[in-house]
């Protein structure tokens, strides 16, 4: 008896092993093999050949993921020739999967990225230039601000279609402004003195004017804007060397460090958003993705352009951008279905903006009545107004290493170490520049 049970268990385990190994290998053929299964919509479509399946990957999580999933669903319902399958996990995970699946048909047909990823993946020949396809998608360059359109080009060739763009702006707590005897107009500063005056007025016992957190990605982004305002540049023009360890870079960083030393910003702040929502700070510099959160909090707030304190106008910006991964033997049908889907997505990007807060990059969409009628439109102006002078991060393969999204970014760490008073400004920037040069070599 005992033996019989044991034998049964062994067979069961062996069986599981075999099934487990076999399944992944057969996955692709399952759809075509089971012709008798008519309950499954996808299977049915594949066999009858009416419907083309397009896979779409993104690194969106939380609310953004929901919004995009709903949008894709809408596309699937509106027509019955193309079925888009949407898959989204965190950015780092999706890129891991993307790398593993690259150049095979198990990868996506459409993938959402940030412009800073474009050169990395075009360099590895994992995404293709979209120059010849833009016409088929019904998209035209004249619908975008030059800064944003070119921010998605690698060596002059278009690798990404920006669906949105996200520069930074100040979110101000109007109640605290009122208490200090200020209005939203006062937050539109044009010099360091004006900025300091504003912060002076908003700083009082236990209350800070502005947030400057230990989120190194954000502090890097602020500094990136101020660097360009001061007339500096991040890399040399041919993108071969760091160019930020200059007077301008120091000036920009010293300005930010002074927020803490002057007492305008809390020291070593952990969460700038929570402190602003909790009324500890009067202003916070955030991207448009923060608009829905701020609105849901029920606060009385407004958005104002990113402080322009030096000679030129500049603000850091990025996009979510649509890319086309490379793989051989892609069906013509899939290509045209992909183009149709991308075109539709751009056209309907106001719906993406409606819930995610992101600003539509396409000017036709941006000026459409549908977008203007949105409740959050009044907060979008501060982001829309800066479209002409948004500065994108340089598009070269090293950006993924020294850009804000990498925890090891030598630049972001240098910026943070100065703000927290742990390093000397010019030394920190020099060291960071050395590391960047090493990466670029």
């Amino acid at each position: 008896m005992k033996r019989a049970v044991a034998l049964f268990l062994v067979i069961l385990m062996g069986g599981i092993l075999i099934v487990g190994c076999g399944d992944s290998g057969n996955q692709t053929s399952v759809g075509t093999a089971s012709t008798d299964d008519t309950t499954d919509a996808v299977t049915e479509n594949v066999t009858t050949g009416d419907v083309t399946t397009v896979t779409f990957w993104a690194g969106l999580t939380g609310d953004d993921q929901q919004v995009m999933a709903t949008l894709v669903e809408k596309f699937n319902e509106e027509q019955d020739e193309i079925q888009v399958e949407f898959y989204s996990v965190t950015w780092s995970e999706i890129f891991t999967k993307f790398s593993a699946a690259s150049n095979t048909s198990s990868g996506p047909d459409v993938m959402l990225m940030h412009p800073t990823d474009l050169s990395t993946y075009s360099d590895k020949e994992m995404i293709s230039s979209l120059d010849n396809l833009i016409g088929d998608m019904g998209i035209s360059a004249s619908d975008y601000s030059t800064a944003i359109w070119e921010g998605n080009q690698v060596n002059g060739s278009q690798y990404g279609i920006p669906i949105d763009y996200h520069p930074m702006a100040m979110f101000i707590n109007l109640d605290m402004f009122e208490t200090a005897g200020l209005t939203a107009e006062d937050a539109k500063v044009s010099s360091v003195e004006e900025f300091n005056e504003l912060c002076e007025a908003l700083t009082s016992d236990g209350q800070y004017a502005i947030g400057l957190g230990s989120n190194y990605a954000h502090t890097y982004r602020y500094w990136y804007g101020f660097l360009h305002q001061a007339g500096g540049s991040f890399l040399t023009e041919d993108m071969s060397e760091a160019a930020f360890n200059t007077e301008e870079g120091v000036k920009a960083l010293d300005f930010m460090a002074s927020w803490v030393t002057n007492g305008y910003a809390p020291e070593a702040q952990a969460d700038i958003d929570a402190d602003w929502l909790g009324g500890n700070t009067a202003m916070v510099i955030e991207g448009p993705w923060f608009i829905p959160t701020a609105m849901n909090s029920g606060m009385n707030f407004a958005t104002v352009e990113f402080p322009q304190v030096f000679e030129r106008d500049a603000v850091w910006g990025s996009s979510h951008t649509i890319t086309g991964p490379v793989y051989d033997d892609r069906d013509e049908e899939v290509v045209s279905a992909t183009n149709t889907f991308i075109g539709w997505l751009v056209e309907n990007s106001f719906e993406w903006s409606a819930s995610s807060g992101q600003i539509p990059a396409n000017i036709t969409v941006q000026t459409s009545e549908e977008y203007k009628n949105l409740e959050l439109y009044e907060y979008a102006a501060a982001f829309i107004n800066v479209a002409e002078y948004v500065v994108y991060e340089p598009l070269c393969p090293g950006t993924s290493e020294f850009g804000a999204d990498n925890e090891l970014s030598p630049v972001a760490n240098a910026v943070y170490s100065v703000i927290s008073g742990e390093s000397n400004t010019s030394d920190a920037l020099d060291t960071a520049a050395q590391s960047v040069n090493l990466i670029l070599e």
Binding site: S214, Y216, E407, L408, S420
Partner: protein, 309 residues
């Protein structure tokens, strides 16, 4: 003769059955554990682009590692973590076990309380401690302020971030050592203790002369696992600081993770893995040697020599 052959047949069948039973497990173990370990050595000698098997570059990855300033930071940080967590986890783990081994009221409850954190997920511990250790509104700073201590920016200053992670880790893992020690303490023969107290040995003497030597094997196990786990610390760092601020909490596995899965430098990451492996191997050998019974070893050698002569 016949009896023997029946026995043999039976035994052979049993062995066949055993092999059959173990095959699934060992297949999996080989594919997912043993093979990757050796593959890792091989990968560390290659320059690997994502979708290819890469090209052979010899020791280039190791040369780069030696010239990488971050590598030394990572080494220092990992050992700092070990120094913070190791001694506390071992010594206090033992002291807690001593305390819980007393016949007092509520020890069962206390045992549960001390062990429960260990079964929590790292993510949970990390996020909870991120709140507790928050510089401006954290719980810990709130209580410290009653003692007149200025707010400490635990996780957002590079001088204290590793300490913050160590605090969370100690709270999380000390229960494991305590439970192991508790089991060992209950195995200390009571006769020894009674005999010693009759002979007039006081509590401290009994602790050092009887209890600690009796749990020596457990101490060996606890030290070994604590060192290995500490060097491999990852989850807490990943959740609480991602290696920041200013690289101050960047540990080995976190560095390896970023190199492999953010920057896709798989060959380089494999080289980091090999170095980590060698460090752990060296530490383990050192611990084995430290706890090895040298007297017994010497005695054996002497005996052999005597025989020889």
């Amino acid at each position: 003769m016949t009896k023997n052959s029946i026995w043999n047949k039976r035994r052979r069948r049993e062995i066949r059955f055993l092999i059959l039973s173990l095959t699934p497990f060992f297949t999996m173990l080989f594919i997912f554990k043993i093979l990757p370990i050796f593959a890792n050595f091989y990968y560390s000698l290659r320059d690997i682009e994502v979708q290819t098997s890469g090209i052979f570059v010899g020791l280039k990855n190791y040369r780069m590692l030696v010239n990488d300033p971050l590598f030394y930071k990572v080494l220092k940080n990992t050992f700092t973590y070990l120094l913070y967590v190791g001694p506390v986890n071992i010594v206090f783990g033992f002291l807690l076990a001593l305390l819980l081994n007393q016949k007092l009221k509520g020890t069962t409850f206390s045992r549960a309380v001390i062990f429960v954190p260990y079964i929590f997920m790292t993510t949970l511990v990390g996020i909870a401690f991120r709140w507790i250790l928050d510089g401006n509104s954290g719980l810990l700073n709130h209580y410290l302020s009653y003692l007149g201590i200025e707010p400490v920016y635990w996780l957002t200053k590079s001088s204290t971030a590793m300490l913050g992670i160590a605090i969370a880790s100690i709270w999380w893992t000390i229960g494991y050592n305590t439970v192991i020690y508790l089991a060992a303490l209950q195995g200390v023969p009571r006769e020894y203790l009674e005999a010693a107290s009759i002979d007039g040995a006081n509590k401290v003497k009994r602790l050092f002369k009887i209890i600690i030597p009796c749990v020596k094997n457990t101490t060996f196990f606890v030290v070994l696992t604590t060192v290995i786990y500490s060097i491999q610390v990852f989850g807490q760092v990943y959740v609480m600081t991602s290696g920041g601020p200013n690289y101050s909490t960047l540990t080995f596995v976190q560095y390896l993770y970023i190199k492999a899965f953010r920057e896709f430098k798989l060959g380089y990451a494999a080289a980091i893995g090999v170095v980590l492996f060698l460090i752990i191997l060296a530490m383990s050998i050192a611990i084995f040697w430290l706890f090895g019974d040298h007297d017994e070893f010497k005695a054996k050698r002497m005996k052999r020599r005597e025989k020889f002569e």
